[in-house]
Structures are given as structure tokens and as C-alpha cells.
Assembly symmetry: C2
Homo-oligomer: 233 residues x 2
């Protein structure tokens, strides 16, 4: 049996590429995005009552990782990228059907122009197509005692993050500098580098596209140093 | 943007019609079903490691309620069927995309002939097409403090359930009689009648198709009386 899904909305997020996105929702509360409903779904009645919920499920498409061929196993970054598990035992984007599922904080419902949801703790690429929104119903969805396989707990290591004078200067020049600083801190303190390089440090400069800039940083002696917010890409 | 999903598996459950199915997963742990993976997805590698998890997300299609036209609002049974909320503020099966989402207990992974998952707390119709399986990751998915809108808690009222001598006799004639008795008790003590009839009682006999029989019961003075397991439909 085959079914066709239609995109009902689109994500506008600061994440312009896959590297650096938190690997699960909720890890970085400062990661805020909006979900814009598309016509004909952009009707205020369709979200009536949603503001009574603190969290929502977003069902989306992994639009950048769709593949012709599915593979029965994947290598989760959480396991260092060198152990394989079944695709159905993972939340990997490389799946038979490219369906994603993330719970997010619902920070606001705006119906002044079309319909927009303001979401927190986002782990989605800019431009992600959304196929459904459902309320998070805690008495059904929350199972605190569930057994968690190979990912039993949130990553605990939080690295201290400092900004170079150059990065500080670039942040001060932005109207949204304070918010961007907190986002950068949230993203880098959980160390977006692949787990198998967790202990490797040194001169290597990492970069990720964020908002309208290219964020550059390195990790030295267990600390993150934010080098610059390079312009233009 | 449109995407085509393929069915990866099929649910075999005791529920042969919509009436009487628990309105959320987990409410009736005795409701057990199997999920059979379909070719080419029925490969043991695809579920390797899944048995480390106690619960799974099942993403499925509401195959019996697909409609040509979507409606921006729905009337949830939980609100007595007479108040409307936005379709995206509900878990109603009548949605723009017919995607369902249920968390279930993973009771077993069987790979002897094809691949079958044994699921508990099921709220799915027999024959439901499944489009994805994901592990339940408690540190991400479990948010006990989430605010729950119009469905803040599980239904608390549990009705006492008694079986007439005829129903007892019919249960004793079945090899699976004990299991079926516990399933019936679990299903009826949470009162599957629509909320707007909650206080109405009397002579009316209700029926639901379950396994290979037609279950008949009534509610008298706050007690459920199981009348018979009528044969053949």
C-alpha cells in the first residue's frame, strides 16, 4: 500500500546545514524556529485549542537525506559511528520512509498573518517540510520509566564556551546579538563534533552555517573557543 | 511538496472495528497485537538492537478513515463530542495527512519466520498499515511536566466488570479463554461508550467485534455485565 503525503507547513530555523544541529530536540532550548502553515492549511481554526499544550509533536520529512535505496542498518553518531544497529532501532534520517518525529516546546501560536507556531528546542533544518502537528499528551506520551537501549540518557558533558574579542565584537554589531550568543553557547557546550572525535582536540577549526553567518570555533583543553561569525556564504 | 510512503508492515490485532478500541495506546496493557514486517523490510538486521528498548513509536496510516476532504476542526470524544477543536490540536484520525502515532510496549522481537514485533497496550485496528518504527528514547520523548490541554489525565473511572454464566461458559470453551477474559475486562472497565452517554444506562446492549466473536455487554448501575461472546460475523 502506498500513500501520498502533502506538506502542510515549512520550518524556518537558524540551521542551514546538517552539521551542528542538536541530535535530538530539547537539548538546546535556545534553538528557536517558526513553523509556517501553508495554504490551504493556514487557517486559525485548524490550531484552535493548541495553545493549551506546552509541547507538540512535529512530524516532518527528512528532505535532504532522501535516498533511492534503503539500508537495513545505520551507524548512529551516539555510538561513535562505528557500530551498526537496525534502522528501526534508530532515529536516523536514513529510513525506508523519510519520516521524522520531534517533540518541541510550543512557545506561541500566532494567527495575525496566516498561522505560525513558535517552537523551542528545535533540531530541524531550515526549510524542513512538515506533514503533521499533534499535541503532546503527557499521560499517554510520557513514559519516564521506559528502557532506553543505547541512548539511555542525555549527553551530560557540557563544555565551557568562551568568545574571542573578534566574536564579541561581531555579536555586539547585531540587533539579535544577545539571542545569538545564547544560541551559540547552547549549541557548542554539548559539543556537536562526532562522538568518535570526542577526545581529539587541537588546532582544527570547525565551522557551521547558522542564521546568515558561518560560525567558526575550536576546542582547546576541554573548552570551546568561538573564533568568529564569518560573513557571507 | 508531496511524498509517497510505502507500507513497511501490517498490524494483526484483536480489534476488528473502530468502536471499543481504547482511545489512546497504553490504556489497556492486555491489548496485545503483532506487527509483521512486509518484504523487503522483513530482515532481522533492520530491527537489530531494538530489543534493548521497552517501548516503540509506531507510525501508521488511518486506513479506514481516509477522506477526500480535510476539515479544520474536529469533535474529540473526550470532550463529549459536542465541542470543536482544531485538527492540529487533536489526535483525531481525520487529518490532512492520515498519519497516526502511538507509543506501545515492546513485548518481544521474533525473527524466526520473517520479522514480527509483539506489542502491548495497542489501540490499532486489525490490518493497520505501518510506515515507520522508532525506538522510544525516554530522555527525549518523556516530558512528564508537559501541560496537557483538554486531556490532562487518563480516564480514572474504572467500572467493575462481571461475566454472566453464559459468557463464562463461552470463555471456558476457548483455549485462549483466560487471556480473552483479561482483555475484555481491560477494555470494558474504562467504558468505551462515547463520553456524552457516560451517565446513561439501562437495557441497551452494546456490541463490538473482537477476535473472532461479537462481544455483547450492557452497563447497569455503574457495573458492566458481559452478556455473551456471540459467534460468527
Amino acid at each position: 500500500m502506498k500513500t501520498t503525503l502533502e506538506t502542510i507547513g515549512i520550518i524556518h530555523s537558524p540551521f542551514k546545514e546538517k552539521f551542528g544541529i542538536p541530535r535530538q530536540p530539547g537539548l538546546v532550548p535556545e534553538a528557536v524556529a517558526t513553523l509556517e502553515l501553508l495554504p490551504p492549511y493556514d487557517r486559525p481554526e485548524a490550531v484552535a485549542g493548541l495553545d493549551g499544550y506546552s509541547h507538540v509533536w512535529i512530524q516532518f520529512l527528512f528532505h535532504r537525506t532522501m535516498r533511492e535505496q534503503w539500508q537495513p542498518t545505520v551507524r548512529p553518531p551516539r555510538l561513535g559511528g562505528n557500530r551498526r544497529v537496525g534502522v528501526f532501532a534508530s532515529r536516523s534520517p536514513f529510513r525506508p520512509n523519510p519520516l521524522g518525529l520531534s517533540v518541541m516546546e510550543l512557545r506561541g501560536v500566532h494567527c495575525d498573518r496566516g498561522v505560525e507556531l513558535e517552537l523551542g528546542g528545535v533540531d530541524l533544518l531550515d526549510g524542513t517540510p512538515v506533514v503533521d502537528i499533534k499535541p503532546y499528551v503527557p499521560y499517554v506520551d510520557s513514559i519516564p520509566d521506559a528502557r532506553g537501549g543505547f541512548a539511555p540518557a542525555a549527553p551530560e558533558r557540557r563544555l565551557p564556551v568562551r568568545f574571542t574579542p573578534q566574536a564579541e565584537r561581531q555579536l555586539r554589531q547585531r540587533a539579535d546579538g544577545e539571542r545569538v550568543r545564547e544560541l551559540i553557547r547552547g549549541l557548542l557546550e554539548i559539543d556537536p563534533r562526532p562522538a568518535y572525535r570526542g577526545e581529539e582536540e587541537g588546532e582544527r577549526v570547525f565551522g557551521m552555517r547558522l542564521h546568515d553567518f558561518d560560525l567558526r570555533w575550536r576546542v582547546m583543553q576541554g573548552r570551546v573557543e568561538v573564533l568568529e561569525l564569518a560573513a557571507g556564504y
